[in-house]
Symmetry: C2
Subunit: 334 residues, 2 copies
């Protein structure tokens, strides 16, 4: 019960802190910003950052600034990615790209990045150790990974193997989850916990992305339709899992189809996909990463362990819900 | 002669430093980055930053990192602005937007921003004073201004008055010129020079933008055609100057035309514009800002004054060249 209380408190405080720094009515970004933040999303990265900060006894101001910084960077990447992917819906709401057009979505994403670095700087100046300064380049390096990971979707080949999939996730998903956990450790000078925290973040990031991918397939991710990733030939764990089950000529046919431009008819592949155990394989892999995450957490002080509870709980719920839906979907289709 | 030597040295060193940190062949941004930096542009902001850093005796490493940071942020804003403005040519070369498309241009701009903050952080850790840290939020605040200034072009009314024009320039052009001059002062702890340096930067920024605007009108700015700004109804000093000369019904007709979507026939207005003294008024205003800049520089130590020579010389040359061309253009048209 106290855990839920803390989590809820930090969620409200985070929403308030972000709202407080949004552009005022005079700014050309006022409408865009308030439309985007009419839905805050899960705030999972920010809440995790806040909880880890409290666990290592950073000041409330420092904790809040780092959490805000991570959430702003995450939202910047969403706003820019939605332009790249031409996504019109997120959080059951129109995207900035779709409501306000590409130019304002670019400007608002840039604005969020700048505010993110400002908040990160404030966190470092409120931290107890001089080494805390290294949190600024940590944030920058996450952003480098995010931009390269997103760029790979427009230059690289489609993602067909687990090896390629893990590389994409290491660029696109893990960095900000990692930074929300290792950032506060760095700010507090608690460097000795970094190696297990990094391994736990890596596993949590992989599990998180696989859960999201399954929600995309099941049409539960706030975008318009199921199989949005498959339609765009975007990286998705279920796609990789499905492909790993295909044999010879059928695998070659699928690879050829994946290499064609988007907006083709996905139905034949969707039907095949739902007949295989692609979703089950994914849930098993998700479970595996969740176990690794828990195992790595075991060596961390109990305060840090419980700080990771919101994230781990989310992943557990997602796994359970996804597994139930996957079974339902399979039952309907068979 | 030694001044030219230093300037040339810092130009080459800057190009090398930027090239050294570009993505390697494995990166999805390799081609984009090398295509963009096949032309470095004038490097005016970076060279100014470097020269001011030397004037206040920052270490070469610190000077270089701050100069690189400013140039990367400037290039990020160019890459993103070209998407917003759908500009296909810059520096007599295809833009990233036009050669590689919107998604890669967004990702590359983001990558440049992240690298810019990394370089700024390195500069602060190589600076002598602890207050040097404030250079990171200085860079962030420039970026906030740049993004809001760019956004205003897509939400606001067309820029018709000098007051509105000065506000746009204060957001879009002055911040990075200011940061290239005040950043090194902050890094060196030379805070007492900040007020006159800020006023000099403000005047230099206004002069710089007016010179650019006249080059747009004269078709000498590396974009495809003359009057590109007028075609897009984008802010331009010559447009404002022209409008200030119009009377009653003709002014109302021009305002109405400026409020219509772009791609209209600009020829009738271009002809009127060249018949007025719009260009001459602009050169006079440019000269005025140049004088203010020189005046403010007078109270600065002589080392800082000569550090601003590349920038002031550029503005002087631009003024002379623009004035000559304006006279030619007027002669042809009359």
């Amino acid at each position: 019960v106290p855990r839920v209380g803390t989590t809820q408190k930090s969620e409200e405080a985070l929403e308030e802190a972000i709202t407080a720094l949004l552009p005022t009515e005079k700014s050309p970004l006022f409408k865009v910003a308030h439309s985007h933040f009419s839905q805050f999303g899960k705030l999972l990265r920010g809440r995790t950052a806040w909880a880890v900060s409290e666990a290592v006894t950073l000041s409330p101001a420092c904790a809040q600034n780092w959490a805000v910084s991570i959430e702003l960077m995450h939202n910047a990447s969403l706003v820019h990615d939605d332009i790249c992917d031409r996504d019109e819906h997120r959080r059951h709401h129109s995207t900035v790209f779709s409501s306000f057009g590409t130019p304002l979505a670019i400007c608002f994403g840039d604005w969020l990045v700048a505010r993110s670095f400002e908040a990160a700087y404030r966190a470092t100046s409120q931290a107890p150790s001089a080494e805390a300064r290294a949190a600024v380049p940590l944030l920058a390096s996450s952003m480098i990974n995010l931009s390269e990971g997103q760029a790979a979707e427009f230059t690289g080949k489609p993602i067909l193997t687990w090896e390629a999939y893990d590389q994409v996730v290491a660029k696109k998903t893990i960095p900000l989850i990692l930074t929300s956990i290792t950032g506060p450790l760095l700010l507090a000078g608690a460097d000795r916990y970094l190696p297990p925290a990094e391994r736990a973040s890596h596993a949590a990031g992989l599990a998180f992305q696989m859960a999201n991918d399954m929600l995309d397939v099941l049409g539960q991710d706030g975008s318009a339709a199921a199989f949005n990733d498959l339609r765009r030939r975007a990286p998705n764990a279920v796609t990789v899992s499905f492909r790993s089950q295909l044999l010879n000529s059928n695998k070659a046919a699928f690879d050829a189809w994946m290499a064609t431009p988007a907006d083709d008819d996905i139905q034949p592949w969707v039907e095949q996909m739902l007949e295989t155990s692609a979703l089950e394989i994914c849930t098993a892999r998700l479970q595996e990463q969740l176990n690794i995450c828990r195992q790595e957490c075991d060596v961390l002080p109990v305060q840090i362990q419980s700080a990771l509870t919101p994230l781990v709980t989310y992943l557990e719920h997602a796994t359970t819900s996804v597994r139930a839906r996957a079974t339902d979907t399979a039952r309907i289709c068979v």
